[in-house]
Point group: C2
Chain length 113, copies 2
């Protein structure tokens, strides 16, 4: 038991910040749904804020579900809302643009490999 045979040398393994890992996982979880990602992509391609009714039209789920996903995106700081009268206008944050671009880039790398 003195020395395991699997790896003769001791691995240098700096400890990881679990708080940071939790944050990263939370961010990934906010992106880990097709519907949510589609909503986000729609918002990212728009310069002007978009109201919920238009989003509902573009996604194969009901309005309450869209509302639910938008809340999750909001809590992850990926979108912001501005209410004008009855309508709610959503907008992608710079964070969302970065996140989506990052995922796309990783996917491109996956294809290339």
């Amino acid at each position: 038991m003195a020395q395991r045979s699997c790896c003769l040398i001791d691995r240098e393994m700096p400890s990881l910040d679990t708080g940071r890992m939790r944050q990263l996982a939370a961010l990934a979880r906010a992106l880990a749904d097709e519907t949510r990602l589609t909503l986000l992509a729609l918002l990212v391609q728009q310069k002007e804020p978009l109201c919920v009714c238009h989003l509902v039209e573009r996604v194969p789920v009901g309005q309450p579900t869209v509302s639910h996903h938008l809340r999750i995106l909001r809590q992850a700081h990926l979108v912001t809302v501005e209410r004008r009268g009855t309508w709610a206008y959503y907008q992608a944050t710079p964070l969302a643009r970065a996140a989506l671009a990052a995922l796309e880039q990783v996917l491109a790398e996956q294809v290339a490999t």
Copy 2:
């Protein structure tokens, strides 16, 4: 009903490739767990492949669970295995390095905002 009042002008909304969205979501889902992300981060910091027993020591879950997560990472092309005798040596792929770096960068942007 002729024209909705929410947005007077019609939005130009190019259709999104649902297949691509599904792929992106799958990738995000593979990253959307703290334990998995920690395993991946450990592998990314290593130059040499790492055996499972060392990974198990570094994460607060049992060996079967680590094995389960490693399978998911494998299926997402984020790690590769090489079996040598009883031992299984895991290694992060370039895709994993890109993905983790991307997430970190996005998080940094979140803090800055």
